[in-house]
């Protein structure tokens, strides 16, 4: 059995950086507490505890840097990845998912695969966790809001899942759907939300079959916390984060290009492709740079955004001849 005790060398540097980072923060916080004890008691700090997920997974480590499966950039600490993010089903504040996602039931779980496939059917969580060879990949994640992280995901290629259901030759697109359960997802109950639930995303078939496209079940080698899209989510590292749909319950293969949630809501701002592209700005903000998190006030960690989020070598050929300013 390959377990956590057999983690190859590559992880050690990341683990060190994470603990060192935490120690420094604890120290600074302790110093601050000594100065202002009264206010310290009120502290509603962002280090939300991981209250879900966290079960050890059996996996191996990606080794191919040429394929884009790995990066040398330091990974964002687990506490930041779990404390900060967008999962609008639980609210629009970056801290809402960490606060409220534990209200979602993720076991039992199944994914329905329908549409242009020869063998439509259901995949239960047990089959997902035991039926695929899991691998750790370290990907950059670039949010459309101009912040980014480096995340060690554990998962398997979406292609290997789709192949089991035997896509028909007319399957040209894949549509994904997130769980929609009003009583467990308080963001979907907000009267002022303009989103048409359930959340939907889509990929072109060649994007879906690309080896970089991952179905993730884990983070830092353990099952996903709810706020990060438990129990299974998509990760498409060369596209803006909203394409990497969380907590998937339905996959539909189709001939027509599906309308995705953000595209339906604001077509001028969010396109179907949503490839990371520093030369095409969001109408309300620039995409030329990003803040790599965690940042600090005096070291904002502002870095230039790369074409296809740095995966141009692996994916640029998919879009050869396409006007990316038009198909944003």
């Amino acid at each position: 059995m390959r377990r956590l005790d057999l983690i190859p060398k590559i992880a050690s540097s990341e683990i060190t950086s994470e603990t060192a980072y935490l120690n420094r923060r604890d120290f600074v916080r302790a110093a601050g507490l000594a100065v202002l004890p009264a206010l310290g008691a009120l502290s509603k700090n962002a280090d939300a505890a991981v209250v879900s997920g966290g079960k050890a997974l059996t996996y191996d480590k990606a080794t191919s840097k040429a394929d884009g499966f790995l990066t040398d950039e330091p990974a964002t600490p687990l506490t930041d990845i779990t404390a900060y993010g967008n999962f609008y089903e639980f609210g629009t504040d970056k801290e809402d998912p960490a606060r409220f996602a534990h209200e979602m039931t993720v076991d039992p779980w199944s994914i329905e695969v329908v549409g242009a496939v020869n063998k439509p059917g259901k995949l239960h969580l047990e089959d997902i966790l035991s039926g695929f060879d899991l691998q750790e990949r370290i990907y950059r994640l670039r949010c459309v809001e101009a912040w980014s992280m480096v995340v060690p995901w554990t998962g398997f290629p979406l292609a290997s899942l789709l192949e089991r259901f035997e896509p028909k030759s007319n399957a040209r697109y894949v549509e994904f759907q997130t769980l929609y359960r009003r009583n467990e997802m308080r963001g979907t109950r907000s009267f002022s939300s303009t989103i048409d639930w359930p959340y939907r995303e889509g990929l072109r078939m060649d994007e879906a079959m690309h080896p970089l496209t991952l179905m993730a079940v884990g983070l830092y080698g353990k099952t996903l916390p709810n706020q990060n899209g438990a129990p299974v989510r998509l990760v498409v590292p060369w596209k803006y984060g909203f394409k990497s749909i969380k907590s998937i319950v339905r996959i539909r293969l189709t001939e027509k290009q599906p309308v995705t949630t953000w595209e339906g809501l604001a077509p001028r701002e969010y396109g179907f492709y949503a490839n990371v592209n520093p030369t095409v700005d969001h109408p309300r903000w620039s995409q030329a740079t990003e803040r790599r998190l965690p940042s600090s006030l005096f070291r904002p960690n502002r870095i230039p955004t790369k074409m296809f989020n740095g995966y141009a070598e692996q994916v640029a050929h998919l879009y050869a001849g396409m006007d990316l300013a038009r198909y944003y």
Binding site: G32, V35, D80, W147, G187, R284, L293, S295
Partner: protein, 197 residues
């Protein structure tokens, strides 16, 4: 009493200062800081505009005495907000700042709100009030466009949930509506008085 209110208005500032120093602003501290200071500026602005209707219904003179302080705090938090943006988002790069101000309408509006408050803060002293006489009141009506610009500044950044922006918009509409109604009533009264004379 006034000292107590003054200290209370400063508490959010010391709170965010403490949180920043202790490194508890989270993984994206600049953004947390911006949201916090912007929201407090808006709250102080709402508080400033609540004074008149509250005074009209309670007759509590102390309220009127606090108005200037609330207004100045709205400007203060607006300044912290603006300087935080300049420092932590664009690092005082003047060309980058100018580009943001021109290219992002929501930033333009926020900047407008701040610029509109600037002369109000400068002329907030009693001496200026005496010197400007009637014009002082006229000038200080700029607080209304400032409030509207601040609301739109918030609304324009919404990605999908308009709840918070809507809340402030409703509050300011109510406060402005109250003034319009009062103005109309006064006009009617003067017309009636003239007619009976």
């Amino acid at each position: 009493m006034r000292i107590g209110v003054f200290v209370a208005c400063l508490l959010p500032f010391f709170w965010i200062l403490y949180t920043a120093i202790s490194g508890s602003l989270g993984p994206d501290p600049a953004k947390t800081l911006m949201l916090f200071t912007g929201e407090w500026s808006l709250r102080m602005l709402a508080l400033t505009l609540i004074v008149s209707p509250a005074y009209a219904s309670t007759g509590w003179l102390l309220l009127m005495k606090l108005r200037r302080m609330f207004g100045l705090f709205a400007f203060f938090y607006g300044c912290v907000h603006f300087f935080s943006f300049a420092q932590f988002y664009v690092g005082w790069d003047v060309s980058a700042l100018a580009k943001e101000l021109v290219e992002r309408p929501y930033i333009t509006l926020g900047f407008c709100a701040w610029v509109l408050m600037l002369p109000l803060a400068v002329t907030s002293t009693r001496a200026m009030q005496r010197r400007l006489r009637r014009n002082w009141q006229r000038l200080h009506r700029l607080v209304y466009p400032a409030a509207i610009a601040a609301c739109l500044h918030l609304l324009w950044q919404v990605r999908s949930d308009i709840g918070e922006a809507l809340f402030y918009l409703v509050v300011f509409c109510f406060l402005l509506g109250w003034r319009v109604r009062r103005r109309l009533e006064r006009n009617r009264r003067t017309v009636a008085a003239k007619a009976s004379a």
